[in-house]
């Protein structure tokens, strides 16, 4: 087990290094001069030269990368070009918002996704099964921002049940609507996976045995089938958790929640590169580490994974 964990952690290091390189390279995709984008075409040559020196843009590429990487590893992600605030500090303020949205959405998606998946699997090929699957397909085709808009309009503007958007005082009420919408979309994938894993398990001999010895169907499904399906389903849940932590860009934007996703979009819009790069790196690191943790968790749950 220790060997497995060590191997998995080590494998993440080159990926993270390459991710940092890719993030750094982002700045080089910018056509023309990023400084001119920043200060405008009409700035005097001295101003431009000063900014270039301040930003270290006059150094050779390799040196700039290493300097940047060194600072980044010490937790210094630079300062925003528009507000001048340190990027790392802003991320520290915004990540809890994303985290809370993620928790609400995760709770919704697990309840809906696993429930629907088991419901569908236990009625394999019935009208209810086909109906549910078509409904999932239909929901998945509606863009999340359209669904979010509809939810805001119905529950916020018309019925006044919940706040329309924004963080407000940061209480749970403000996370219910965005969390439900985001959770609904995650649950589509979870329901599909739960259904196919459950179908696989239900075909096993021990389920036939359980039925043959006269156990009630409810016990067969939940105690015998579902618990065995859960091992596989948990890895898939881990995958959605890491996706969530990165912050659903669209949900945060439309509900006006100041999380990491919203921060990224605003920075991309303003072409505030230190923030774009900081957000990029932060989210990739969260994404990669969450995936590693999921793998390790999976190995703890299922010893067969540790081999190979």
């Amino acid at each position: 087990m220790t060997a497995f964990v060590a191997r998995r952690l080590l494998a993440a290091v080159p990926v993270l290094l390459a991710v940092s390189l890719a993030t750094f390279a982002l700045l080089y995709l910018v056509p023309g001069d990023p400084v001119k984008t920043l200060v405008g075409e009409r700035a005097s040559p001295e101003t431009i030269a000063n900014i270039r020196r301040d930003l270290g843009l006059d150094l050779p590429v390799v040196q700039r990368y290493l300097t940047w990487l060194g600072r980044t590893l010490r937790g210094d992600l630079g300062r925003s070009w528009t507000t001048g605030r340190p990027v790392a500090a802003s991320l520290a303020v915004r990540f809890p918002v994303t985290l809370r949205l993620a928790l609400v959405a995760f709770a919704v998606s697990v309840t809906v996704g696993l429930g629907v998946g088991v419901f569908s699997a236990t009625r394999h090929n019935s009208a209810a099964d086909h109906g549910v699957r078509f409904l999932l397909l239909l929901t998945g085709a509606v863009p999340v921002f359209v669904m979010a808009t509809a939810a805001m309009y119905v529950f916020g503007v018309r019925l006044h049940w919940l706040p329309v958007s924004g963080l407000g005082d940061g209480s749970l009420r403000h996370f219910i609507l965005p969390g439900a919408v985001l959770g609904l979309y995650l649950s589509i994938y979870q329901a599909r996976m739960t259904r196919s894993v459950m179908l696989e398990v239900i075909r096993q001999d021990y389920i036939r045995t359980a039925r043959a010895k006269g156990l009630p169907e409810r016990v067969v499904i939940w105690r015998h089938a579902f618990r065995n399906a859960l091992v596989t389903v948990i890895t898939l849940l881990g995958g959605s958790l890491s996706n969530l932590l990165v912050g659903s860009v669209l949900t945060e934007t439309i509900f006006n929640l100041p999380g990491v996703g919203r921060f990224t979009v605003d920075a991309a819009y303003a072409r505030d590169f230190p923030v774009v790069m900081g957000c990029f790196l932060f989210q990739a690191v969260v994404f990669v580490s969450a995936n590693v943790l999921v793998d390790i968790g999976y190995a703890l749950a299922d010893p067969r994974v540790r081999v190979g």
Binding site: P31, A141, P143, V249, Y269, A284
Partner: protein, 274 residues
């Protein structure tokens, strides 16, 4: 079981039907549209749907149906071109990595790992931000988002093929790598590639819509379905049809591609039993 399969192929046919309607509507947009999509008519600002404007009008009095039809040309053209980029990169690199293995495989797959370390939409946002919003950067962003998954899929298929007897036989009679790849390997990855392409096009439509919705995609005067939602949102409580109709168009197109992809998977890939 046979009935289930026939029904799912019914889904593929339904998907194809939806797509034919969407594509024909986009192609025939100039003929079908009641008005030119950019014709301003300030006296008819924010009109609800009427026989003259079946989907209503926007703030500038432009006919929403005409704009949805023309916007479809933009959305479909971008998604199709981006998927072609993804297809070219993904299949070429996937076949080479799977067939040659060794350092080629290592280099390609580590590149794939880096791309997959960023969630799809985030990657697209980063690229669009770097290149500056607009049509060309959307194309590049969506093309680059699409290839790693495809590459991984094709590589897996090719690695399994490489050990099969007919490839070994072709090698034994002295066939060159080019010949084997072209005549024996490529035809065998067509089926999974077709499935992945159909599902991929659904994702591309959605990603283009998302980027344009965020204001990082196509810019005025060009309009796609996503950018129509972006600008329509401002009038949501007074004119919800500005969001409903382009949203509906996105949903129909995505549903079409997903139904087709799922149905094809069922028909072409008997190993996958749902």
């Amino acid at each position: 079981m046979a009935r289930g399969r026939a029904r799912l192929n019914g889904m593929a046919v339904a998907g194809l039907g939806l797509l034919v309607v969407v594509v024909l509507a986009a192609l025939a947009a100039p003929l079908l549209a009641p008005a030119p999509p950019d014709r301003l008519s300030l006296g008819e600002s924010l009109q609800p749907p009427t026989p003259a404007h079946p989907c209503g009008t926007d703030y500038y009095g432009r006919d929403v149906l005409s704009r949805v039809l023309h916007g479809g040309r933009v959305s479909l053209a971008i998604s199709l071109s981006a998927q072609l980029v993804a297809l070219g990169l993904g299949v070429t690199l996937g076949v080479l990595a799977g067939y040659f293995g060794g350092w080629v495989d290592f280099a390609v797959m580590r590149t794939v790992d880096v791309f997959l370390a960023f969630p799809d939409l985030l990657l697209a946002i980063g690229i669009a931000a770097a290149l500056g919003p607009g049509l060309p950067s959307v194309l590049v962003a969506l093309g680059l988002v699409g290839w790693p998954g495809l590459c991984r899929l094709v590589r897996g298929e090719v690695m399994a093929l490489r050990e099969r007897d007919f490839i070994q036989a072709a090698k034994a009679i002295g066939a060159g790598h080019g010949w084997i790849l072209w005549r024996h390997v490529l035809p065998n990855v067509v089926a999974p590639t077709v499935i992945a392409t159909s599902l991929g096009l659904g994702s591309r439509i959605m990603q283009e819509a998302s980027l344009s919705f965020l204001g990082l995609g196509v810019q005025p005067p060009v309009a796609s379905w996503g950018s129509m939602v972006h600008f329509g949102l401002r009038w949501l409580s007074r004119a919800p049809w500005l969001v409903i109709f382009p949203g509906l168009a996105i949903a129909i197109a995505v549903l079409g591609f997903n139904l087709l992809g799922d149905g094809l998977r069922d028909a072409l890939d008997p190993r996958l039993e749902e």
